[in-house]
């Protein structure tokens, strides 16, 4: 509850009565993201907000932030809530700004190819809107059917199409931000969009996970719809060859639009659910787009390259299916009722080593793991392992969470880095960046938000509901203990048998 009646009345006045609620139901359903956090976590973090607000305009956001400052109320912005690191989850109650209510496509300049949107617009909706006008947005998260533009940008924004078109920071021309002070700023001058001649602060806010301010409008670079768009799938007898294929693709003179992969366990999970899935050692899915002649040339080139590594081009039906399934990589969650995803950016040359050490970790922790991922640039693979767990067995489920930390340690040791910090992985910052950089990042946060009120206690620090900051050592210790606990438990099993079992025969 918001303690002060004056604060409550001010907040309601800032929006409208029908866009403010303290209903328990609404607070409950906005107290989470994709991560299946156990209830016990609420002892450390007050994940239920005290009020939920639906702003419509930047000015309303600014007013809410101003009131929150006056009354010392924490503010958490929430987009689609489809990330898994707690970036949009309150850690100490307060006001939750549900940014999905700001979902207008404000303007479109076809000449510049720039569309201005509010942060709550869903990626897939924007793409559909643009396609009707002969344009498309070629970069987006794999969760595009549900993820919002503001949310993805705040997480750093690498995903589908980043290989050719870059990440969010390569395509965001300017951001409108409500700072923790309540002031509204634009990070760049839009007329300078492509060749900024002025101080451009856009990059500072991309990937800041809402810790430096609240995104209220975005100018995005979009592109004319391509003449040809061709997905092609290549199967490999084992993942070593598939990872070799990724390395060779990244060195090639030509560049596909998107390069993704899934391992054999990914298909095993699907088969266990009764779905039809190819019985292959691994699959590399390429997508080409552009002028038809160029696409034809690329397809021919990569057909030959994949064949030289032992890749077999699968049917068009499979390729189309794999492309359609790009947003449905966690279908197998139904197998065990819970799924947890790790995500790390790994140097291409280290992919095999990271995969092998991750497999060894999985064996030690008596888990089953599938891996998918994609290339984000010529040097980097986004490596996304996920495991299926059973939320109903909460001790086992919680102890399994330690896998994510252990996996990130492996990727860090190979020059990789985790993708998200948010609430749950905030302490991983120290193992990804040197101490001077971490100190500077914290200084920037405290400069713009001295009381750490807007999405505070996350990203650059980890604070509990009692204001107590948890350091990396305690975090590491807790994770190590959970990992030991997990090993004491029996092997992961599912309600449905997994045809063919898992490598090593560990599982039913």
């Amino acid at each position: 509850m918001i303690d002060s009646d004056i604060a409550r009345r001010s907040l309601i006045k800032a929006v409208r009565p029908d866009r403010y609620t303290e209903s328990q139901l609404e607070r409950l359903v906005t107290s989470h993201d994709l991560a299946p956090m156990p209830k016990v976590a609420a002892l450390a973090f007050k994940m239920m907000p005290d009020a939920v607000i639906h702003p419509k305009e930047a000015e309303e956001v600014a007013e809410v932030v101003g009131i929150a400052n006056s009354w010392d109320i924490p503010v958490t912005p929430r987009g689609g809530g489809s990330w898994g690191f707690g970036g949009a989850v309150p850690n100490n109650g307060g006001v939750l700004l549900d940014m999905t209510s700001m979902d207008a496509i404000i303007s479109f300049d076809p000449e510049k190819g720039i569309v201005r949107v509010q942060p709550g617009v869903v990626w897939l909706r924007l793409d559909e809107w643009l396609k009707r006008r002969g344009y498309f947005v070629p970069y987006y998260p794999s969760s595009a059917p549900g993820a919002t533009i503001g949310g993805w940008i705040s997480t750093g924004g690498v995903g589908v199409g980043s290989y050719k078109y870059g990440a969010a920071r390569d395509n965001v021309r300017s951001l409108q931000i409500v700072l923790p002070s309540g002031r509204i700023i634009d990070t760049a001058h839009i007329s300078d969009s492509k060749h900024p001649s002025q101080f451009d602060m856009t990059s500072l806010f991309i990937g800041a996970e809402g810790s430096l301010g609240i995104v209220t409008a975005i100018d995005l670079q979009v592109y004319p719809d391509p003449e040809a768009f061709v997905p092609a799938s290549y199967s490999f007898p084992n993942m070593d060859l598939a990872y070799t294929a990724l390395a060779r693709i990244s060195e090639a003179k030509l560049k596909p639009y998107h390069v993704a992969f899934v391992d054999d366990n990914y298909f095993r999970f699907l088969r266990a659910m009764g779905r039809t899935a190819p019985e292959v050692g691994g699959m590399v899915n390429l997508v080409f787009e552009g002028p038809k002649a160029k696409v034809d040339e690329e397809v021919k080139f990569f057909d030959a390259l994949m064949a030289s590594i032992g890749g077999k081009r699968e049917s068009e039906e499979i390729a189309q299916h794999e492309w359609r399934e790009r947003s449905y990589e966690l279908r197998s969650k139904k197998l065990g009722t819970g799924a947890v995803i790790g995500e790390a950016l790994v140097p291409v040359g280290q992919t095999t080593a990271v995969a092998r050490e991750t497999a060894a970790l999985v064996k030690k922790m008596k888990m089953n793991l599938a891996v998918n991922g994609y290339l984000i640039d010529r040097g980097t693979v986004a490596f996304l392992p996920f495991y299926i767990t059973d939320e109903r067995r909460w001790i086992k489920s919680i102890s399994s969470l330690s896998f994510v930390k252990k996996f990130l340690d492996i990727s860090n040791a190979h020059g990789g880095r985790g993708v998200g910090l948010g609430l749950f992985m905030a302490n991983n910052l120290r193992s990804m960046r040197d101490i001077n950089t971490v100190k500077l990042l914290r200084k920037i946060k405290y400069y713009v938000d001295p009381e750490s009120r807007v999405n505070g206690g996350k990203t650059v620090e980890l604070a509990t509901r009692y204001g107590i900051r948890v350091g990396p050592r305690l975090f590491r210790f807790a994770m190590n203990m959970l990992a030991v606990l997990k090993r004491l438990y029996g092997r992961d099993r599912y309600d449905a048998p997994v045809p063919g079992g898992f490598p090593g025969g560990e599982h039913s």
Binding site: V29, T30, S82, T100, R132, L330, R331
Partner: protein, 391 residues
């Protein structure tokens, strides 16, 4: 712990929010608790209620507000189409409404009134049973030895009789021997099933209608109402078993008649027809499309009309946007239902259509109400209203 139907589905939900982005009610209200993901998350908390909740000083349990959220649903099934883990959500919402009533909650007033009328008069409008076939003024078209029974449905019987008359005219022109159930036709039960009030359907309506059809010994039954069709096709088999007759939606039947050349449409375009010389579009009723998977037949019938200029709206077939009328939503939340309809009408305007053709009387009524609300000139008509001008 509360025993909740389909508990496993609760845990399967990934909370990805794909359903959030397609939910017509959420698009109107914006509250997370209004979208499928939010409702499932809350339900999981209710199912998991335990000692830790007491420690956290919270008491998650379903209440009147949760019941309202369950009823704020048009049963459109768009959430089913996009679900990451293939949860049968539309079915789940209906089960949960029933479950809430079992817990002692009352149905919404509008839905309670519908039940009372159906129990009393066998139709949701409270009209006299003996006037069930009053819509058919010329009974001479009926055959004593029919090949098909036309199940008119309550709305065509009591509110939009011209639809039934159009069907009769079309079937007659194709020399189809048909009959109707008359007083023996009771409400199919759709308004009750969609609002969690299943008992009268299981006990009376489904067994009665099935017996009425089967005792006539016909091989086929056809209905022009998307709601009746979905109910008889998808719900009746679970209540009364496999039917002894073939069930068709009228558009499927007409598609067959046109393809077999039993129904011949005028080659010379009727210049007076308002449907020629303009663009028309087709709106997939949720109960006919997503629920019963009939997408092609109505399009085939429209395209068979000589000279018709059919355009698709961007959101069509499996991803068609809901009109806002279904699932008992319009009867309880008319204001928002019309807002949803108005959005669909705007989509038709964007593709330059003058007419929306549909095959559900509820869609027709609500889309016209939505158009009126925004001052749109787009008119929604039933497919049989168009077709009757060409036979």
């Amino acid at each position: 712990m509360i025993k909740i139907p389909e508990e496993r589905e609760l845990y399967a939900c990934l909370q990805c929010g794909y359903c959030r982005a397609v939910c017509p009610i959420y698009a109107e209200t914006g509250w997370e608790s209004n979208n499928p993901r939010g409702k499932l998350f809350a339900l999981k908390q209710y199912a998991n209620r335990g000692p830790m909740d007491r420690v956290l000083r919270r008491n998650p349990k379903p209440g009147e507000d949760y019941k309202q959220r369950l009823y704020q649903c048009t049963s459109c099934g768009a959430c089913d189409e996009v679900c990451h883990v293939n949860i049968k959500l539309a079915h789940l919402w209906e089960e949960l409404k029933e479950w809430m009533l079992e817990q002692g909650y009352e149905p919404l007033e509008a839905h309670k009134a519908i039940r009372e009328k159906i129990e009393k008069t066998r139709n949701p409008y409270g009209e006299p049973t003996e006037k069930r076939d009053a819509w058919l003024t010329d009974k001479s078209v009926l055959s004593a030895n029919p090949e098909v029974i036309f199940f008119a449905g309550c709305t065509a019987s009591y509110r939009v009789g011209f639809l039934g008359q159009a069907v009769a005219k079309i079937l007659k022109s194709a020399n189809v021997k048909f009959n109707i159930l008359g007083e023996d036709e009771w409400c199919c039960g759709s308004p009750l099933l969609r609002t969690g009030q299943t008992e009268p359907v299981k006990k009376d309506l489904a067994p009665h209608n099935t017996k009425a059809i089967e005792t006539r010994g016909v091989k086929a039954m056809v209905t022009a109402c998307a709601g009746c069709y979905n109910t008889i096709k998808n719900d009746y088999p679970k209540i009364v078993g496999k039917p002894t007759y073939e069930l068709y939606h009228l558009t499927e039947y007409l598609d067959k008649l046109i393809k077999s050349k039993r129904l011949v449409l005028k080659k010379e375009a009727d210049k007076k027809s308002p449907y020629l010389g303009v663009k028309v579009t087709y709106h997939d009723p949720c109960h006919l499309g997503r629920h019963a998977r009939v997408f092609d037949a109505p399009r085939n019938v429209i395209k068979a009309i000589p000279g018709i200029q059919m355009v698709e709206m961007p959101y069509n077939r499996e991803m068609a946007h809901c009109c806002g009328a279904g699932g008992g939503y319009k009867s309880a939340f008319n204001y928002t239902a019309e807002n949803i309809a108005a959005k669909r009408v705007k989509e038709a305007e964007e593709v330059g259509a003058s007419f929306i053709i549909t095959s559900c009387p509820f869609c027709q009524v609500n889309l016209n109400a939505g158009a009126k609300k925004i001052g749109s000139k787009v008119k929604t008509v039933d497919i049989v209203q168009v077709l009757e001008q060409f036979v």
